[in-house]
């Protein structure tokens, strides 16, 4: 049994701990629709903060938001050959447009069969490319920089809330450029937007780098990712940015007239992050008492719990809390007084599990003494004991913004230290790699000892050589995460080919 606010600890069973946080932190729940989740108000509030912060950054870099159809004609998906291979597998297919009553039972009307099946978008390169083809005429129209916030569907066999769901929410950026340089610069610029967003807003340190060819987006020339280290040592791909070359432009006839009058294919890019980020935040910052939310994405940054006793003095207590809320809101802090009809202790632990950055508890003595008693969610306990602090109200209000900044920064530093100290660099052979990670766990059990990531020299093999390496790694449930963009000069031979290494890559178990 856990002495903490969750029924299971990370140590005991990491996957169960994750489920407990999602459930008891009021983030999301499974729905009666296979693989689709219901995002609850607290979880949705986090997504709204993520959207607002990232959307501002996407607009600041010159992108316009638009909206494209949910459905994609099957023939569109077929246009880009590699794209077909990668995506034309598990997707939701709309084949009919009507139901009817038959003997009092609702059935699909066979007379309402669509001439061409429609796919619920798994990603929108093809439908957006079709618009680009119409919108782009001359070099004056370039670069064309658009983004959309949308729901997408990929028929996943094995799902886990936020991390891998049949329907998920994301933003997908799509851009067209006059040449390779401009498109590659865009791809890397958005990767950098993702990196700084993850670190500055989610307090989630990541490694930005290039994926090996076998992990590329179907139809991309280069795929880049940001990878975050979860508390079980696994990697989470938290965002990707793709340079698509002219593949989609050629398949869809996206051309422009250059300044000399010649028709030329555009170079395109796409990039996206999704509700998966929320899973990353949970597994980066959660502890055995529940979620710990970075203040920048907490729907409520300070929650005030009045210690009501069903006595006449309660009115005064509530008044005190409300005026404190007003003062905090006035300096721009998302504040809530929790007036629900439940016990104060229950409220405290609910907010602990949800990860509100600061939980204020106001009792009669605080109110009469003009004080504020509060807990920092980032440092909830000293040993087993819950710690709180009491301050004169004016001081608390004056220091509240700085306190939230400090919590944001503490969460980042803690996660950054974990990432930095858990990338192992002394593995010299595949055998050592095998021994280090040990055999892959059987079946679905993904729990296991913390192993972190391994950095190895790499000769950038391709084709069959790469496939063989990927297969060997797969047997250990390992994958190459990426080749970090920021890395020191490589020394030595590739761990797999023995050839001279060209760079380092990171290897890990992953979500």
């Amino acid at each position: 049994m856990s002495k903490r606010a969750l029924s299971v600890t990370r140590e005991q069973n990491f996957p169960d701990w994750y489920q407990a946080i999602v459930r008891d932190g009021d983030m999301a729940e499974t729905s009666p629709v296979r693989g689709c989740m219901i995002i609850k108000p607290w979880g949705w509030g986090v997504w709204e903060r993520i959207q607002a912060e990232l959307d501002a950054r996407i607009k600041d870099t010159g992108h316009d938001n638009c909206y494209f159809p949910l459905f994609i004609p099957m023939s569109f998906i077929a246009k880009e050959a590699e794209h077909v291979e990668g995506f034309a597998k598990e997707m939701a297919v709309v084949t009919h447009h009507r139901l009817k009553n038959e003997d009092g039972k609702l059935v699909v009307d066979p007379d309402a069969k669509l001439e061409e099946p429609l796919i619920v978008r798994p990603t929108s390169e093809t439908i957006i490319g079709d618009a680009f083809q119409r919108w782009i005429k001359s070099y004056r129209d370039l670069p064309l920089l658009v983004n959309q916030w949308a729901n997408v569907v990929r028929w996943e066999m094995r799902t886990r809330l936020f991390l891998r769901t049949t329907e998920f929410l994301w933003q997908e950026g799509h851009t067209a450029h006059a040449d390779r340089d401009d498109a590659v610069a865009e791809t890397l610029k958005m990767l950098e937007v993702y990196r700084t967003f993850a670190e500055d807003v989610l307090a989630m340190p990541v490694v930005a780098g290039e994926k090996p060819p076998n992990e590329r987006f179907p139809g991309a020339d280069n795929t880049y990712s940001i990878e975050a280290m979860m508390q079980d040592g696994k990697a989470l791909q938290a965002g990707t940015s793709h340079y698509l070359g002219t593949h989609f432009a050629e398949a869809q006839n996206i051309q422009f007239q250059n300044a000399q009058g010649a028709l030329t294919h555009c170079h395109t890019t796409s990039w996206g992050v999704s509700t998966r980020l929320i899973g990353g935040v949970i597994m980066t910052h959660g502890d055995d008492d529940g979620l710990r939310l970075p203040p920048m994405i907490a729907p409520r940054q300070i929650v005030i719990v009045p210690m009501l006793r069903e006595k006449p003095e309660d009115a005064e207590l509530i008044e005190y809390c409300k005026s404190l809320e007003k003062e905090l809101k006035a300096v721009g802090i998302r504040t809530l007084v929790d007036l629900k009809l439940t016990k104060s202790a229950e409220k405290r632990w609910n907010w602990v599990r949800r990860g509100a950055p600061v939980i204020v508890e106001i009792g009669g003595r605080d109110a009469t003494g003009g004080n504020v008693t509060f807990m920092r969610r980032d440092r909830l306990r000293d040993g087993d004991k819950v710690i709180s602090d009491t301050k004169p109200r004016a001081d608390f209000v004056a220091e509240a913004l700085a306190l939230l900044k400090e919590i944001q920064s503490t969460l980042y530093s803690e996660a950054k230290a974990r990432l930095d100290s858990n990338i192992i660099t002394n593995i010299k052979s595949f055998k050592e790699l095998e021994e280090y990670f040990g055999p892959a766990a059987e079946g679905d059990d993904e729990a296991g000892a913390f192993k972190g990531w391994v950095r190895v020299p790499w000769s950038r093999p391709e084709g069959a050589t790469l496939d063989a390496i990927a297969d060997r790694l797969k047997a250990l449930k390992l994958t190459i995460r990426n080749a970090p963009l920021a890395q020191e000069a490589v020394a030595g031979a590739c761990l797999f080919t023995g050839e001279a290494a060209k760079e380092y890559v990171l290897i890990a178990r992953a979500y």
Copy 2:
């Protein structure tokens, strides 16, 4: 030929004028997917403003945002009998979850047929009700007040951008209450939120009232709407709010234990507005030069066009415009300097067609004289002549917020005067009604003389009597819009039944 910025005037052909504004105002376009639209950046910017303003009002009234699945199992739709009748018709049905390559061709994989078909949500009462049934245990959980922003799909046979599309975007509020009074109060509260939102934010005057029984939402006890008058005299239902009684609660077992310990069914409500509002804004405020956007929802409230001449002085001009932009942004005005590589005149007319509330044109003389020359989109012309004003820059900046407020208010007053003066109250018989509206236009041609709305006394007939009246009206392409909530005491007999009237209702042709 029109002497205005659009190729067709309202007078010449209202439906064509509407299409021209949507296209030339860069709002949206049809997509290759039947009935689905592509919302372009300027149109999407309007929707973002609508979302932000309405979302704040929905939250201020105590509602939490969540997210529920895109798909609804077919069996859920079947649960509420009237709901089935009303909705289980034209919907997108997902029957398979995989495509496969067959002889190099992409086909639906017959082995991947779903056991139960999934419906792409046409509205979410049933899937949200299922969650309510799990979430609600006691009276302490009530009222439960949630809202979601989502895409929905209804397989419409005849579509028109924004007004009626297969896929559209909306918010849908869903609430559960302990008793009828609380649920009815919620229904009317949200109707009032919609009314004030339409009038204060969209500058679109509306009449709030109750729909007759034949126009109720399938499964509702009462449906209320806000109705707006378009410039062709037709009505547009711009938002609805439904009191659902205990129908959905009974069908889905949404029960709570009351303070005495007895299990009781909840009373539920739902309410929504959609991207249709944008169509309403266009047909309320547009003129023959294009769209006129109320400043509160204009993605850019002031657009600055530098009159560039491809000369060295251009740099100074751009500098002047950028510093002006900075000053305007500093007072919270959404401002843009249009630096595209197109001619100034083209830019001016693009922004006129898009409806930017204030268009500033800065030439060399303005820059050297420290002046600002600008056009108000709400009063673009005097006769045929385009009018502009020039002011010292400091004055312009100091008065800019007030100017935007004045434009917002002018647009509202203009539309309000049109609404008020075009509700005819002297029709005394069905024959007079028939003569007033004249025969319905043939086929799809919805153009015709402006007729406005007619207000008649009404005895609240129901059942077969009501159906017969609805049929007679339908032959004239007329419908009962609503019985206004705010109305004077009724006098006389019902126009249709001859019985003593209980209230007035509004009759009109409608979108």
